[in-house]
Every structure is written in C-alpha cells, then in structure tokens.
C-alpha cells in the first residue's frame, strides 16, 4: 500500500469581507489539529507558501463580480476534486448582490469619477451559477463549528450534518421565548435557515436573515405576519434585501413587495 498522503486543502477568495476564511483561523482550539491532518496547499490569508494543485478540497469564499473572476473560478474547479462554497457571498452573491436590483449604468457614475479604471460585472452571483459545487455552507458569517463538521465529514467520506430547518426550531431548542409572538418584534426566523444558534432572539432582537432562506420557506405568510405588526412595504423589501438578497426565495419575496 502506498504511504498515506495528507489531503490537500486550498482556500480561495472572491468578492467578500474575508470573515468566512477567518472562521478557519478562529478555530483556535482545532487549528493545529486541522493543519496536522491536512496539507494547507494554498491559503493566501495565512501563508505565502503555495503547493501546486490538484487539490482534494477547495474552500471558496466570495461571489463572482469581475470578468477575471468569472474565468478564475473555472480554473479552480478544474484543479479541485471537491469544491465547497463557504458563506453568503459564495452561496447567494452576498451583500454586494444589492447591485443586481439596480441599473449598473446608473450605479457606477454615482461612485466613480473614473469608471474606466474599474472592471466589474453588472451582477454579483454565487459560485454555483458558474461551476458545479459539491457542498454549500451558508451564513454571514458561517458558523465555524459547522465548518469543522463539513471538513471532518468530507475527510472521512461521510455526509455533513447541517440542518435544513429554520431558526424557529433553534429558538425552541434553546428555550428562547418567541420575540415576534411575545414582543411583536419582526423576525425573519420563520423563513431563515438555522445554523447561527438562533442568536438574535436570545439578544431580544428579531432574526435578520444571515443564513438566507431555509428549505421551503413560506415567505408570503411571514410577510403577512410582519404587515400585521405594522411593517411597511419598503421595510419588507429592505428586510429581504441584505446579505442573501439574491437567494431565490428572498429575491422573489422582495420583488413582490416592490410592485
């Protein structure tokens, strides 16, 4: 039998805030064990050393926003056995996808005196709009414990255990009283994917949708609930248009309230 080779992991960045790859460095207790079990082949935020591909696992952070990046993601896909996207930018286009709802022709001169210096696409799009993605880990930012679980699962050839249900379930498990029912606080929890641990309601605030839509969300019903609490149409549009604005369920619901 051939000597056991450590799996090669690469971390790639597109348009993003760096927070999701920082989650890997934030695994203070696990970091040295992780880097003991794998070979970090490319991770520019952490190392200047680069090992040539192909890579066993590529972690991809960020969304596609430039012509150059549109090409680069294909190169990365070709050199990766498994490609895992991490975070709202990579899985839904991120906060920068707010440009997708505007006419970029109006947008650019508003910001740039010299637009000819800048190369940018009219839309910010998630990675799986461009290449096949093996697994998507959602969140703005991702939950670092979920990241460890996903790495662990793929390294051991099993399916990662990450929930598909909503934040409401996490509140019940945590024993948090419903902020919407008890206090009349608008909350995106009923339609938002679990993963953060239902943080916001535990801090007396409504969920604001960092993890994007859960499986089969009933956004129409939730919007009706918000309207009953006195939330206006423009406020509903803004609520669905944040870090996961271009995720299909949130995009459609925000557009429904814009008409």
């Amino acid at each position: 039998m051939a000597a056991v080779r450590k799996p090669k992991i690469a971390v790639w960045k597109f348009a993003s805030c760096d927070g999701c790859q920082l989650s890997l460095l934030d695994c203070e207790d696990e970091l040295l064990s992780i880097v003991g079990a794998v070979e970090i082949a490319s991770f520019p935020e952490a190392t200047r050393a680069v090992v040539k591909g192909p890579y066993d696992i590529s972690l991809v952070e960020g969304s596609i926003t430039t012509p150059h990046d549109e090409e680069r993601i294909h190169t990365i896909r070709r050199s990766s056995k498994l490609l895992i996207t991490i975070g709202a930018c990579a899985t839904s286009g991120g906060i920068q996808a707010l440009r997708n709802f505007k006419n970029v022709a109006d947008f650019i001169p508003m910001v740039y005196a010299k637009p000819e210096y800048i190369e940018t696409l009219s839309k910010s799009t998630p990675i799986n709009d461009h290449v096949f993605v093996d697994f998507q880990l959602r969140g703005c930012p991702i939950n670092k414990l979920q990241l460890v679980e996903v790495l662990n699962a793929f390294l051991n050839r099993r399916k990662p255990v990450t929930p598909a249900h909503g934040v409401c379930m996490e509140c019940k498990r945590r024993g948090t009283v419903c902020v919407m029912v008890a206090n009349g606080t608008p909350c995106l929890g009923p339609v938002t994917l679990a993963g953060c641990g239902a943080l916001c309601p535990a801090y007396d605030r409504g969920c604001y949708g960092c993890f994007g839509p859960k499986e089969t969300p009933n956004t129409t019903s939730m919007s009706a609930g918000w309207t009953a609490l006195g939330v206006t149409e423009p406020e509903l549009v803004r609520a669905f248009r944040s870090f996961n604005a271009y995720a299909e369920a949130f995009r459609k619901e925000s557009e429904a309230h814009e008409r």
Binding site: C17, G19, D26, L32, V35, P44, R48, Y203, R238
Partner: protein, 429 residues
C-alpha cells in the same frame, strides 16, 4: 543591464487581495505600485436609501476582521447626527467590545501573520513546529479576544448585538465577571508577547511620518476624541473632510487618502502610541519600556511590538471595565431621526475609520462616505517601499522581496476594507 523589477503577484498574509510592483533603474527606484485587485463592492452606493439603523450591520460586512470598528463608527455617526451622546455603562460596554476586537485582531496579526516574517517562516503552521508554545499562547490570546466579542456582541465575526444608541441586550454582571480569569491570563500573555517580540531583529528604518490618531483627554482612544497629528493637526472629527481627501490611481481598486496640506500620513497602532503614550496604563507603559521602547517610536517594523503593548492595554482596560460594571437599566438610548449630517471616527485595530452620512427626515441615508484605515496608509506604504528598497538594492531578489512583503505587513493592511470603494474627491493624472 541595470534595470530590475520586484514583482509579487499575490501578497500573502494580508486580509484581501493585493500585489506589489517595484521598478528599479540605474540603482534608483523609479516606480512602486501596490496593486489592489480586490474587487470593488460599492458599499456607499447601496447604503443610499437604507435606514440609519441598518448601517451598523451592513457596514460590518465590509470587513470580517474588524466588524466592530464599522459598527462603532456608523453608530457614532448616527448619534452625532441625531444629537445623542452615550455615557455610562453603555459607553463602557462599547469600549469593552472594542478591546475584544483589538485583542483578537492584534493577536492574529502578531502571531499568525507577522511574526513568521521576523523568524523566517512561510507561515504560522511552519513556525508552530519550532515555536509551539508561542503559537499556542497567540491562539489562546486571540480566543480570549473573541470571547469578549461573543459575550458582549453575540458572536465574534459580525456581532449581532450592536445598535444605534447602544445594544439590543446588555450582558449581566455575572457574564462579564466570567471573563476575568481568562483576561488575567491574557494580560500576562500580552506582557510575555512584548518580551518575546522584543527579541526579534528589526530592520533599521524610519521616516519623518505624520502620525494621525484620535486623542481623548481621559483615555487611550477607541471610540472618541479629537483628530490630532504629530505635525500639529488638532480638529474635531466633523472637520475631517476639510483636511483629508482621496485620490484614485489606475493600479488600485482602493483609493489613496492624503492630507491636503502635507500629503501622506500614518494611522494605526504606531500613530496611536506616539500620540497617546501618556494615556496607556502603567503596566502597558512598563511593558513598552522593558521591551526597549521609549515614548516615541518611528520604526514601522516595530509596529508589531507596539501592537503587543496595545494588547496589554486592551486586557488592562477590559479588566477595569468588568470590575466596575453595573448593567444599565435600559441597554440603549432612543434616537429620533432628523434631516442632518453625522460623522463617526473610531480607532479600528489598523487605525482611524471615518464614516459620514447624510440622513433625510425619516432617517434614510441619502449619502454615505467611508474611509477605512488601509486607504489612509497606502501612500505611506508606497513611500516606505520606495525608500526601503533604495537602501537595499544590494540584496538578492528573493531576500529583498521577503523584506518588502514584511514592510507592507507592518501596516497590517486590510485590503477588503480599502476596496469597498469611496466617493472620489481628487484625481491625479
């Protein structure tokens, strides 16, 4: 053939994407370009039409490394506009949260990003093989900074508990007390960090910088103060745009900020230290002196040492706040929006972060301007490189490239921040 170029296509161990290009001809540096190719994300543009209360959570997403800085500057800007001033335990909680971000960010930079340069490693993973104790100390220090952010802010990256006027929920006295033992360990570890870093070899290099930082009569600056400089600037933050402006260069997706009167300037730990040494706690001052520093330090390579001193301060300050903390009756102060302009300027780990917003009568943002610390340091970084390379042309290329990268990391540049894109004020041909 007397021409040579140093080219680093992809700068490592910085937050975000950038490269370096230096051209040398006839033993003279003729061109230095820090290429910023991090894609622009248009934050100022899409902040238009959003409510004042959304700015802290939206602008936090400019940077996963220093989200608290964005939340603080945007909150202060709204409070400035709506005529509210936060005092008492809420103000203290903000300082505590910021201490957490400083400890986390400084430990990350010292141990994981910059120390490998000084000790000759490609990264912390290689460094950990020879210096396991130091790396474990750094990781635990970083973790304790993150714990403060988690207790006060809800989570370490993009905290959820910050709002204009204060917090959604104030932590209990008991919760904060629970941090005490770890913070005492962290304070000792930070002192040890100063000692460890002081054994590094620092290239002999300094320039006549203009340091710019906040200064407050009663405290080392985090959230509030006047903007002062080592060359006589002394203004309220509301006058920032009368003295500073941004320039757009073709090679960079980040704007370069400059002082209108004098050009480049320097923000961050070294600037804060030089302008506020007297406001450090006795323990932090002692750690600095023991490490061989005086009240003035102009060598940017010693920035790593000053970060360690600031980490001692942040632990000391966090312990002080926790010891005196009594939870407020209400975790936030109500604000009433009005047609107005608000300014916020706070000390991110990398230096001053300026926000300015115009609001309409419903509190919707009609115009936004954000100037992150790295944009403000870009000019100084390029000037450093020009002078630094000129004096080291005899070095072989790989050695020179290593030292250039190290010189850039002196500033702990956060390229994700610098490239969120700003409204242009000045152009240069």
């Amino acid at each position: 053939m007397n021409a040579k170029t140093i080219k680093v296509d992809f700068l490592a161990r910085v937050e975000g994407e950038g490269g370096l290009f230096v051209r040398v001809r006839d033993q003279r540096v003729t061109e230095v370009k820090l290429n910023i190719f991090e894609p622009p994300r248009f934050f100022e543009a899409f902040l238009r039409g959003r409510k004042f209360s959304e700015a802290p959570d939206i602008t936090a997403r400019i940077c996963g490394i220093c989200p608290v800085a964005y939340q603080m500057s945007s909150c202060h800007a709204a409070e400035d506009a709506f005529g509210v001033h936060i005092e008492g335990p809420i103000r203290e909680l903000r300082r505590l949260l910021y201490c957490g971000e400083w400890i986390e960010s400084h430990a990350l930079h010292i141990y994981l990003l910059h120390a490998p340069d000084f000790l000759g490693y490609e990264d912390v993973i290689q460094m950990a093989k020879d210096h396991p104790e130091a790396v474990q100390r750094g990781l635990r220090l970083k973790k304790i900074g993150n714990q403060i952010m988690t207790v006060v802010g809800g989570r370490e990256i993009h905290p959820i508990n910050v709002r204009v006027g204060g917090f959604y929920k104030a932590p209990s006295k008991q919760q904060l007390k629970g941090l005490t033992e770890d913070l005492k360990w962290a304070r000792d570890a930070a002192v040890e960090t100063c000692r460890w870093v002081s054994t590094f070899t620092f290239p002999d290099f300094q320039r006549d910088y203009e340091f710019v930082a906040l200064r407050h009569p009663d405290e080392y600056p985090l959230n509030e103060g006047r903007l002062v400089s080592s060359k006589g600037l002394d203004i309220p933050i509301q006058e920032y745009e009368q003295h500073f402006a941004e320039e757009h260069h073709k090679h960079s997706n980040a704007l370069h900020s400059a002082l209108l009167e004098r050009g480049s300037y320097f923000v961050g730990p070294l600037a804060r230290y030089n302008l506020n040494f007297d406001k450090l706690t006795p323990l932090a001052q002692k750690a600095a002196r023991t490490a061989g520093l005086t009240a003035t330090c102009r060598n940017p390579f010693q920035g790593i040492l000053v970060r360690a001193v600031e980490t001692v301060y942040a632990c000391d300050e966090a312990l002080r706040i926790i010891a005196h903390y009594e939870a407020p009756d209400k975790p936030y102060v109500e604000v009433t929006p009005r047609v107005s302009i608000g300014h916020g300027c706070t000390e991110a780990p990398r230096g001053i972060l300026y926000h300015r917003y115009r609001y309409d009568d419903r509190g919707l943002i009609s115009n936004a301007k954000i100037v992150p610390p790295t944009s403000q340091n870009l000019k100084a970084i390029e000037e450093d490189l020009s002078e630094f390379v000129s004096a080291r042309l005899h070095l072989p290329n790989d050695r020179l490239q290593w030292q250039c990268e190290q010189a850039i990391r002196n500033y702990d540049p956060c390229i994700s921040c610098a490239t969120h894109f700003l409204k242009l004020r000045v152009e240069r041909e």
